[in-house]
């Protein structure tokens, strides 16, 4: 177990440096004149040029200079200093304001996935090949196949604009009700996957030896299902939901953009639209770290939860 965690951590460090290097190289390497790009249309005096060259170590050229600046960026990133967006706001401040909203949205989505997905998955797994099972399978296939860029605007149009069941957009400082529809849209994908995972896992465990033993002991069916089967079936589901929580934090770009929710994804959406390079790189770097850490936590959780899994 200890060796597994150490190896997994080392792997994460490699992945972290790999991805940030790629992000950094793509955004900043080989661009024309960064000082002029910063100044825009205005002229740059020799003194300003000298100051900025000194400040950002632009005089070091070639591969050595690139890595020098890259490690500058990494050490700033690790210290939590993400720099400023093109509009002059600190990216750290933007993210600090955006995280609570995004986390709220992600939690609603996960709640939707757990309440509907896991319940329906257990029912479908118990009554395999029934009408309910086939109907949910078809429905989840539909949900999995329809991209968010279709689901989100259509839900917004029909439920928000046409029938006015939900607020069409969230706006600044949204309340629970305003986040409900985007949460359902965002959660529908995880719902479908959680349902399928629960169904397969329950159906598999129902055929296991220990379930037959429990039945032959004379335990009532309800107890067999709710205690013996569920406890083992939910392990993969829990780990999936953990990964999904990490995904939802970074994957809400479309949903937050469409519903106008001022979260992290929305700021990224706006950064792309307004060609705000530093903002995009800053947010993407943070999201990659969130993604890597959540994957790590889930992998370790998996090993802790399921004693059958042995990492050598």
């Amino acid at each position: 177990m200890f060796r597994f965690i150490v190896r997994r951590l080392l792997q994460m460090v490699v992945a972290f440096f790999g991805t940030t290097l790629i992000v950094y190289a793509l955004m900043f390497a080989g661009q024309g004149d960064p000082i002029q790009a910063l100044a825009g249309e205005r002229p740059v005096t020799a003194a300003q040029r000298a100051y900025l060259t000194e400040k950002y170590h632009l005089d070091a050229t070639g591969v050595g200079g690139f890595f020098y600046r890259y490690f500058d960026y990494i050490s700033n990133l690790l210290r939590g200093d993400l720099g400023e967006s093109l509009t002059g706001r600190s990216i750290g401040d933007i993210l600090a304001a955006a995280w609570p909203v995004t986390i709220k949205l992600a939690l609603i989505a996960i709640a939707v996935a757990v309440i509907f997905g896991v319940t329906a998955g257990v029912l479908a797994g118990i009554r395999r090949a029934s009408i309910f099972d086939n109907a949910t399978l078809l429905l989840t296939l539909l949900v999995l196949g329809i991209p968010t860029i279709v689901l989100a605007p259509l839900a917004q149009y029909f439920l928000g604009v046409k029938w006015q069941l939900f607020p069409a957009t969230a706006g600044a400082d949204p309340d629970f009700y305003a986040l409900l529809l985007p949460g359902i849209v965002l959660g529908s994908l995880s719902l479908a996957t959680a349902l399928r995972l629960t169904r397969t896992s329950v159906a598999e465990n129902l055929r296991a030896d220990y379930v037959r033993t429990a039945r032959s002991k004379g335990l009532p069916n309800r107890r067999v299902v709710s205690v013996h089967v569920l406890r083992n079936s939910l392990i993969p589901v829990i780990t999936f939901l953990g990964v999904e929580l990490g995904n939802l934090m970074s994957g809400a770009i479309i949903t937050e953009g469409v519903f106008n929710i001022p979260g992290v994804g929305f700021n990224l959406f706006r950064g792309i639209r307004t060609e705000d390079g530093p903002l995009v790189v800053g947010i993407v770097s943070v999201l990659v770290v969130v993604y890597l850490v959540s994957n790590l936590v889930v992998d370790i959780l998996y090993a802790v939860l399921d004693p059958r899994i042995r990492y050598e």
Binding site: T19, P147, I149, S250
Partner: protein, 318 residues
């Protein structure tokens, strides 16, 4: 159709070749009934599934639309007249006109080409990368496998949409061909890992088979064994994964175009049209609903087709 036939053909080869190297296997000897191959079983299974036929028809329809859009509409998607803004259906424009006064239906029909082109070419490129990496890792094992598997792990750990955003922001050119090429390239570079894992595991299984040992005894080199003996057997599962991947590549292209970093005007893409329709949905919803429906049905068709074929070929589900 072609996908299924390739799968069936390679599976048939596998079935023919497999038992011949093992004399005296119990399931072949002494059976009066003519044994059915895995592909035969799968085909019998598939034939009875309505989902398979529905998705197959949809896939063929969209493919026809991409090859010859003129068969489906006689209107020109590029002729837009502002005086027809949000006008009602008329003169062959089945679903009326959008904000710019373009024929909504014609644009949706012509949008199939970019989507399918991106989907098919990135699936093809993905397949090539996955086959090469999976084959090398599975066949040689040892440190080659260790290195390649770590590379797969790392690429799998990169979130697709975020990485695609960063990569595509780098492409400054507005030329349609360059943008199309870079979207294909980016999707393939980020999306080959799942298929590579599938190829690797089927290569590892195939490597231990007797016919491979026989080929080696006859003096075949590594290249010949990989190309002639292992590849046909590793291809079938990879093609199924790639069919599903094709659907998700189409969705990814539309998402990137929707965000404004994938394909750009004047290329006609469902993602661009959905984004434009979204902005003006309060005035008229059809320019949003029509391309959305086209995109959703296309993605669904490919995913359902791949799903149905995979189910049919999975003996555990029988």
């Amino acid at each position: 159709m072609s996908d299924f036939e390739t799968v069936a053909a390679s599976e048939n080869q596998a079935a023919r070749r497999g038992p011949s190297g093992e004399p005296g296997t119990p399931n072949q000897v002494g059976q009066p009934r003519k044994p059915r191959s895995l592909a035969g079983d799968a085909w019998r299974d598939l034939r009875r599934k309505p989902i398979f036929w529905i998705s197959l028809v949809l896939v063929l329809l969209v493919t026809a639309m991409a090859i010859a859009p003129g068969l489906f509409t006689s209107n020109d998607p590029a002729s837009c007249v502002l005086s027809r803004q949000h006008a009602a259906p008329s003169g062959g424009a089945l679903f009326g006109y959008d904000f710019q006064g373009c024929d909504t239906y014609a644009r949706a029909v012509y949008g199939a080409r970019a989507s399918l082109l991106v989907g098919a070419l990135s699936a093809l490129l993905t397949g090539v990368i996955a086959l090469v990496v999976g084959m090398l890792a599975g066949y040689f094992g040892g440190w080659v496998d260790a290195v390649l598997s770590r590379v797969i792990d790392i690429v799998l750990g990169i979130p697709l949409l975020l990485a695609a955003i960063v990569l595509l922001k780098r492409v400054a050119s507005d030329s349609a061909t360059v943008r199309l090429g870079s979207v294909i390239f980016v999707l393939a570079v980020l999306g080959w890992t799942t298929a590579a894992r599938v190829v690797r595991s089927s290569v590892i299984t195939a490597r231990e088979q007797d016919y491979v040992a026989a080929a080696r005894m006859l003096g075949a080199g590594n290249g010949r064994i990989m190309w002639r003996h292992i590849l046909p057997n590793a291809l079938a599962p990879a093609i199924v994964v790639l069919t599903i991947a094709l659907g998700s590549f189409i969705a990814a292209e539309a998402t990137l175009s929707f965000l404004g970093i994938g394909l750009k005007e004047p290329t006609i893409s469902w993602g661009i049209d959905i984004n434009n329709g979204r902005v003006h949905m309060r005035e008229s919803a059809t320019p949003l609903v029509v391309p959305s429906t086209f995109l959703a049905l296309t993605v669904l068709a490919f995913i359902m087709l791949g799903d149905a074929i995979r189910d049919a070929f999975d003996p555990k589900l029988r």
